[in-house]
Structures are given as C-alpha cells and as structure tokens.
C-alpha cells in the first residue's frame, strides 16, 4: 500500500511535464478543430522525432552534469558524410551509414577527451565542436546539399502509408535511452557522476572512461537524428539542424532534468520534445503570426516548466 502510494507519487512527480503536455493538448484541441486528427498527431510525432532523438542523447550528457552544444552540427556532419560517401566514392549505403554513425561517435569522443583529459568545461569543448563539425560539413559538401541514397531515404517514409518511420526510430531510440539510463552500469554511473563526481570516483567508477562513453552516445544519437532528418528531406544539407542544440537541451530540461546533473529521465525528455513539437504545430494550425509565434513559444515554455515546479512545491 505505502509502496504503491509512493510509486504513484514519484511517477507523477517525475513526469510533471506530462501535466503541461496534457494541458497543451487539451487547449489546442479546443482551439483548433484540425489538431486532434490522427494524421495531425502523427505529423506532430514526425516533427518531434529529430529533436527527440538529439535530446535523448543530450539526456545522457546532462545527467552527468555536462552539456552538449554540438549535437545539431554533428547531426548535419553525419548526414553529409553518409550522403557524400555514398555519392562520391560510391560506398554501398549500409557501409556509408556505418561510416556516418562512426563520425558521430568520434565527434562525441573528441568532446569527451577535451572534457575528461583536457579539463575543458563541457560548454567550451562542445561549442568548439559545434563550429568544427558544421565547418567540416560545409567543407565536405562544398556548401551544397547532397542527395541521400534512396535506400536510406526510406527512413523518412511511412510504413503502410500510415506509420511514419521517423516516429518509429524515435520510439526505438527513446526506449534504448531509457534502458541505458535505468538498467545498465553505464547509465547508473552517469547519475552518480552527475550527482557527485568525486564520490563516484572514490566509489571506483572510472569517471573519464564513463564520460567518453556518455559523449560518444550523444554523438551517436546525433548521427541517427541527422540521418533521419536528411531522409525526410531526401537530401543532406550542410546547414541542417542549425540551432537545434538549444531545442534539444530545452526538451531535456523541460522533461525534468537538472543542468547541474544527477537528474533526468528518457520519458521526461520525450515529453519535453513533444511539448515543443505540439506547440509549433499548434501555432501553425492556429495561424499565429510569425512574429508573435516566438513570443508565444517563449511564454508557453516558461509556463510548462512553471506548472511543473509549482506542482512539486505543492506536493512537498
């Protein structure tokens, strides 16, 4: 009984963003008759996918108390690498995909090396990578979009004319993130490091190695996000996903994680990404003027998190 109450309570407490999402969905259903259709909701899913995948990767990093500003650029670079290796040296697409994922992981490893061994603040290391990866994407593509191999572009399609593949990929990556965070040594170590790095170290956790894994995961997730994004457009763009890092971080934080580390869940991040996507979709459906949209998005983000903090305060 007591355990049950406890569980129910903590589940709600940790998913405060869910309340905000529900409120938002209800409000939009009332305001726009177009909102609550299956097609539109699937659209929202598709539109959330890239941010959500980036944010799942970002959750790892934020749980350890770090930050990854490079995810948008790394996504673009990975996609460009895939398209380029398939087009120019003409690698078969599965190989090109592997190369692209490796590029994402390597970017993450470079970030981690700078942070763990170079003792750079994560903000600076990943800001540097933001520039480097974007620059390399431009250099490789010579600034022009490169068509994606057809086989890979199916990632942007829908299965049976209904279920969009990006949504599927998002769910798979989300589940993967949840399992890593909750069930694996790597994930538990992330929470310990983010909670108290020194205590983690003195408990026998190899902090530097865990950071390598953490940022590598973030880079790998970014690569997947980049491939999904490019597939949707059937073309890899050197400028793709510019500025997505802020959205990804916002999704993680809206989902209840703390930038000072030790806290955060995949499910919360998912809800955070959905809030952002629902919001953008709704503003389009309601035909809010472009200039006001930024204001409204800002206000709603603040309100969404406010709902969450007020609920928590009310509970304790």
């Amino acid at each position: 009984m007591v355990g049950n109450v406890f569980l129910r309570r903590s589940w709600l407490a940790e998913n405060g963003a869910l309340v905000a999402l529900v409120v938002l969905v209800v409000a939009l259903s009332l305001l726009s008759s177009d909102f609550l259709s299956v097609t539109n909701l699937l659209n929202v899913g598709v539109q959330a996918a890239v941010t959500a995948i980036l944010a799942f990767g970002g959750t790892f990093v934020i749980v350890t108390g770090g930050i990854d500003l490079s995810v948008g650029s790394v996504a673009a670079l990975s996609a460009i690498v895939l398209a380029w290796t398939a087009a120019v040296p003409g690698l078969p697409w599965p190989l090109a995909t592997v190369v692209s994922l490796v590029v994402g992981v390597v970017c993450g490893l470079v970030n981690a090396a700078l942070i763990a061994y170079g003792k750079l603040p994560p903000f600076i290391a990943t800001l540097a990578m933001l520039g480097i990866a974007r620059g390399l994407a431009l250099v490789i593509s010579q600034g022009s979009p490169i068509p994606m191999p057809d086989a890979v572009s199916h990632l942007g399609d829908t299965i049976g004319g209904y279920l969009p593949v990006p949504v599927l990929v998002m769910l798979v990556m989300g589940a993967l993130a949840a399992v890593i965070l909750n069930r694996t040594y790597v994930g538990r170590a992330m929470y310990a490091i983010g909670g108290n790095e020194e205590a983690a170290r003195l408990s026998g956790i190899k902090v530097s190695r865990q950071k390598l894994i953490t940022y590598a995961l973030s880079g790998g997730f970014a690569a997947v996000a980049g491939i999904v994004l490019a597939s949707r457009l059937a073309s890899a763009q050197p400028q793709a996903a510019a500025g997505y890092e802020l959205d990804a971080i916002a999704a993680v934080v809206i989902g209840g994680a703390s930038l000072s580390g030790g806290k955060g869940r995949a499910l919360g991040t998912f809800v955070g990404a959905l809030i952002l996507a629902v919001l953008r979709n709704g503003l389009n459906l309601l035909s809010v003027s472009a200039f006001w949209q930024q204001v409204v998005i800002g206000v709603v983000i603040a309100l969404a998190v406010l709902v969450d903090t007020l609920r928590r305060r009310g509970m304790s």
């Binding site: 177009d34 600034g143 050197p238 003027s289 006001w292 949209q293």
Partner: protein, 297 residues
C-alpha cells in the same frame, strides 16, 4: 490572435471567395522576405482569400512540418518559398499526397512537381551584379565579395552567378571572399577587416543589401565613390542607399511583385484553373538613374 502588426491573416470578401491558402516563407528575419509576404498579403486581401503565413526560420525540416500542417488544415493551395530547393521536395510531395497544388515562390523545387514556379533567378541576378560592378569599375579593379550564410541556397546561387559573371572581365580580380552571414553588423565588421588587408579595393559585391549596408558604413565617405558597392535584393533600405548614392546598384528581385503573383497563381490553382509552369519575375538592377522607378515603402 491574428490582428498583430505583422498581420498574417488577411481575409476579404469577393474574388478569391474565401479560399484558404497557406504560405511557408523561408525566413522573416530578412526584409526581402518580409516584402515578399507583404506583397502576397496585399494580393490575398484584394482577392478576398485567406492567407496564412508561417516562418520556417531558414530550416528546411521545419518547412516540411509547416506544409504538413497546412495539409491538416485543408488548405486549398500552398505557396512554398523554399529554404532550399533540394530539400523542398518532401514538402511538395506532402502537399501532392493531399492533392493540394503548390506554388513555388522565389526558389524552385528540385525533385518534385509543383503547379507553378514563380521565381527570379538568383544565379542570373549574381551575373547581373557582376556585369554592373564591372561597368562601374570600368572593367578593371580589385573587388571583395561579402558572402551570405555558408551553405544556404541564396548564398550559393548568387555567389555562383557572380563568380561566373566576373570571369568575363579578366582585369577584375576578386581579392577576398568572406562570410558576413547576410547580417548588417557582420557586413560592417568584415568589411572593416578586409579594408585592413586589402586597402586597394575599389569594388564590393555583397550577396544581400543588409551586408552591403554594413559595408557602406565601413567604407564611410568612400562608399559609392572610390569604392563601388553592389548589393542584392532591392530592400527599402537598400534602395534608399542607392538613391543617396552610397550604394551604386542593387539587384532587385521585386519580392512584393513575386508574392503578388504567387498568390494570384495559387487562387487560380485552387479553383482548378490551368496555370503556366513557370513565371519569371524580372530581375531589375536598381541604379542611381532608375531607382525612382522602384517602390520604396
């Protein structure tokens, strides 16, 4: 809440008979596209159509999202001002699946069918800019190019057109090409810096008017006189500078006219009328002589 000053919803009575049209603009962070939108809104108002404008913020995937959302809203026609010609195909296809005609405005769509493309060619514009600058310089001199955001189609096409165009003048040397991200402040800073390393330059091509205006600030009294400046877009501020003689020319694409024609085409398409595959809105070079022909709003 559409009564905002930027007024994205424009509805009226007759003509267009309350046809719902969606328009996704690549960015509203640039006066050029603001004019494009204004032209479209004026036309929609006149025809009595309802026009919904969204801002893709230079993000191709957000643009796809917006077109999908238009489809959910059962728009009768969609005007697509692509962030990127190649990346616009999925957006156009999304509309096609929903049987909604698409009018491509300002930039074409590669890899998908659209009902009409209303555009003025950026590459041609770049060539015109090269010719104009060459004339201004008497076919010889040193020029610098202020580039837009690396990797964007506008920067690419205008730069390409200019590079091709300037080749015809072997005595003109491009001594530096540097990015200033379509931004006026950066135009000012980059031009200032380039003047340090290339004091002998006598010509500037900026891939948009904003950067050109920044460059003019950097050049001070030399702007338009010792150093000839050619911009791109023909924005109100740009045309004012042309009139004042600090900018020598701006390749004007008449964005308002473009927006107007796109809406006219969209209404026709929505009614099921036949429309031409391409409409070219003439590119005009605004110079000190002819600047008064251009509308400075």
């Amino acid at each position: 809440g559409s009564a905002g000053p930027s007024g994205s919803n424009t509805s009226g009575s007759p003509g267009g008979a309350n046809i719902k049209i969606g328009m996704s603009v690549s960015t509203l962070n640039n006066p050029y596209f603001v004019q494009l939108r204004d032209g479209a809104q004026a036309e929609a108002q006149k025809a009595g159509a309802t026009l919904t404008v969204t801002d893709a913020q230079n993000d191709a995937s957000q643009q796809v999202n917006q077109v999908q959302n238009f489809a959910s809203q059962a728009m009768k026609a969609i005007i697509l001002n692509p962030v990127d010609s190649d990346a616009a195909a999925p957006a156009a296809k999304a509309a096609e699946r929903a049987n909604i005609p698409v009018i491509a405005a300002d930039r074409g769509v590669n890899g998908a069918e659209v009902a009409q493309t209303v555009a003025s060619d950026n590459v041609t514009g770049g060539k015109l800019a090269a010719q104009e600058l060459a004339e201004l310089l008497g076919h010889k001199g040193q020029v610098v190019v202020l580039q837009g955001v690396a990797g964007t189609s506008a920067a690419r096409d205008r730069g390409q057109g200019f590079t091709e165009g300037i080749k015809a003048f072997p005595n003109i040397k491009v001594v530096a090409q540097q990015p200033a991200d379509f931004d006026r402040t950066k135009g000012l800073d980059v031009m200032t810096n380039l003047l340090q390393s290339n004091p002998g330059i006598n010509g500037v091509f900026a891939e948009n008017d904003e950067m050109a205006l920044g460059a003019i600030k950097a050049l001070g009294a030399k702007a338009g006189k010792e150093v000839k400046v050619v911009g791109f877009d023909g924005t109100p501020d740009g045309l004012k500078a042309v009139k004042a003689g600090t900018m020598n020319a701006s390749v004007a694409q008449q964005p308002a006219l473009l927006g107007q024609q796109a809406v006219a085409a969209a209404i026709k398409a929505a009614k099921g009328e036949q429309i031409e595959k391409t409409v070219a809105v003439p590119v005009k070079v605004a110079t000190t002589e002819n600047v008064d022909e251009f509308k400075i709003s």
